[in-house]
């Protein structure tokens, strides 16, 4: 079924450009962006196509991040892989083990002679997608980090200072109680990407390990470690808040976004990349703030980690050097300061190049868009440690799903926070060992 759709799809793609513009080599790019961000993707593709006459980038929306990863793998097995695919950060471990299915950035630069200099990219971003010796594996594209969005109208209604978002978890709990008491919003606090924001990011900024071996960067034999006292305290807090009605779980991944955008929730944790959609949809005054910290766990917070995705070059048997050259040219195009800065300013993703950041500063963007530099400040805070470099674990998406399941049980009152995280570690380690065996590590 899938193969057939892919086949007809690629036939259609192969047929149409021949009729229209015979000279241009078509390059297919699969992505997972919707809404404001999806429109920006198309704008980038149009911009590149207009900038030169040899290649034609065709941006194709392929579903959510997990769907794109699955589709790319199935397509490669059927020899129908797209030239370029946007893979979310948790898929990085799987893609690094993909060997001949991908052409890593350093290889691409070497073979095509197109200069793709990793040094143009901000280290915190580039490091996530690089091999341990510093060679670049995939090209950083859309990077965000987790932030706290809050509804200033609701804060005012609850008697809180709308210009002073809570900086610690103690303050957050107090604010949530005030919001509930004054009925300033039907949901005081909710969170998108619950596992990413409240466990992975919480661990990074408080310098707590998610897994051994530098969170997996130093080897496939890493073991999960997220059931320490600090994380258990955070998870118990969510359970308690849920119990007293100050936190409401409104679904997995991005499902809770809409609850904040519509004004139902006063505080909505989520990706900084929600900015474009919030600007467009929110009919209330809102603010963007740093993630709150727990001073008892660690009074000196460090950097948060990035989320988002990078671009992987994929191979197919009859792919020509000219096609790879086109891909390399496109990757160079998106790293230009103007392109990166525009992407950053319209979507809420952070700039991934120094040039893009400098350009945004020169544009005076941060004076007009208040709070847009919050994610950058948070990513640049303190010194990067083994716990805050990022996560590199195979089948991490599956581990997140396990944690969702166990957490949902906790929120139903079936188990404590410690039991939840212990179960997550135990089940997650089994997944890691399976992955290790399957890639022959």
């Amino acid at each position: 079924m899938k193969r057939r759709t892919l086949l007809t799809g690629s036939l259609a793609l192969a047929a149409s450009p021949v009729a229209a513009q015979a000279a241009k080599t078509p390059l297919v790019w699969w992505h997972a962006m919707t809404g404001a961000n999806g429109e920006e993707i198309n704008r980038i593709a149009t911009g590149f196509n207009a900038s030169q006459s040899a290649y034609e980038i065709q941006a194709v929306y392929k579903g959510g991040y997990a769907d794109v990863l699955t589709a790319a793998i199935a397509a490669w097995r059927a020899n129908q892989a797209p030239h370029l695919v946007q893979i979310f950060e948790v898929g990085t471990g799987s893609m690094l083990a993909a060997g001949p299915a991908t052409k890593q950035v350093w290889q691409l630069a070497q073979e095509t002679g197109v200069a793709l200099d990793p040094a143009l990219y901000i280290p915190g971003v580039r490091g996530y997608y690089a091999l341990s010796d510093g060679r670049q594996a995939s090209m950083p594209f859309n990077s965000s980090t987790a932030v706290m969005w809050y509804n200033k109208d609701a804060f005012e209604k609850a008697g809180l200072d709308p210009e002073k978002p809570p900086a610690t978890w103690a303050d957050t709990v107090a604010a949530a109680r005030a919001i509930k008491a004054k009925e300033a919003a039907s949901i005081p606090v909710t969170s998108s990407w619950l596992i990413w924001v409240q466990l992975e990011q919480f661990g990074a900024i408080h310098d707590l390990p998610f897994a051994s071996k530098s969170n997996g960067f130093d080897g496939l034999d890493a073991e999960l470690k997220f059931n320490g006292a600090g994380q258990a305290k955070q998870w118990q807090r969510l359970a308690d808040m849920s119990q007293e009605g100050t936190f409401k779980y409104t679904g997995r991944d991005t499902a809770p976004d809409a609850v904040f955008y519509s004004g139902q929730a006063a505080i909505g944790f989520g990706s900084s990349a929600g900015r474009g959609d919030i600007v467009r949809n929110a009919k209330f005054r809102w603010g963007e703030a740093l993630l709150p910290i727990d001073t008892e766990v660690n009074p000196h917070p460090i950097n948060s980690i990035i989320g988002g995705a990078s671009l992987w070059t994929m191979t197919a048997r009859e792919r020509t050097p000219a096609e790879y050259k086109g891909v390399a040219e496109f990757l160079r195009y998106i790293g230009q300061p103007e392109v990166d800065a525009h992407w950053h300013q319209t979507t809420g993703y952070v700039p991934v190049t120094f040039g893009g950041y400098e350009k945004s500063k020169a544009d005076g963007y941060y004076q007009t868009a208040v709070g847009a530099d919050v994610p950058i400040q948070q990513l640049a805070r303190g010194t990067v440690t083994a716990n805050s470099r990022g996560l590199r674990l195979g089948r991490l998406a599956e581990i997140r799903n396990i944690l969702y399941e166990e957490t949902e049980k906790m929120l139903q009152g079936q188990q404590t926070a410690q039991q939840t995280l212990d179960a997550g570690v135990q089940r997650g380690n089994r997944v890691l060992r399976d992955f290790q065996k399957s890639v022959g590590g």
Partner: protein, 293 residues
Amino acid sequence: MERRTVFHHRLLPILLVAPQFLLTVFFFLWPAGEAIWSSMTRQDPFGLHSQFVGLDNFTDLFEDPLYRDSIGRTVVFMTAVSLLSMAVALLLAVFADREIRGRGIYRTLLIWPYAIAPAMAAVLWLLLLQPQIGLVGVWLNRHGIAWDYHLNGTQALTVVILASAWKQVSYNFIFFLAGLQSIPRTVTEAARLDGAKGWRRFRTITFPLLAPTTFFLIVVNLVYAAFDTFGTVQALTQGGPGKATETLVIKVYRDGVVNLDIGSSSAQSVVLMLGVVALTALQFRFLGRRSDA
């Protein structure tokens, strides 16, 4: 008397059988064979390393308490969906079989849901039962009933059972109605003359005479609940909260398509295939014997 057609040439029968045979080979035997092969290997997602592991995937599966839980959950789900959809369909069929005005319209309307795609059915139920936007969901919460199937496993299971059963009522209705109409009027007339009233007449005459239909529907409904409810469940709960609505097909999808654990997912498919074979064998055996008699 059996009727037998005799072919005098070899070619014609082969030509007649060939299309069906090829379809079976390409759409069943080949994929099923590949599934059986994959179930005995351990592969990485891209298929770069493939290692023969014998029955390891199967032993891992049955040693996994989560898989055993999933089997139990699926049995509960199948039973509930079959019972509910058949009971409702039978009730409706009995009423639609009576002499009432506008019988044709009722029948047409009752058959309608069958034409709706499973995912669409799920969306309809979502618009009713979703706690924040659904009509019934919002109403329940406003009246002090904590309704949130995103978090409450029992409620989630109820929702997917309702949605799945509703979709199958039409199918059962058609068969029950046909079954009722094939019961000779003379038998029910005789019972009436003997003074058997509504419920008694149904229990002692109608229901036993419907037995072949009922048995056929039990098998069909069990197979439906086990396999064809994927779209409904996936669209409503994705198997959550926790694993409260993760039936075996959902688990195959989750492990194979989302988690890319091809070996384990294939092993699960093979187990499911054996389940269907068993159910089909059961049906042939019992229904076959009945028609012989």
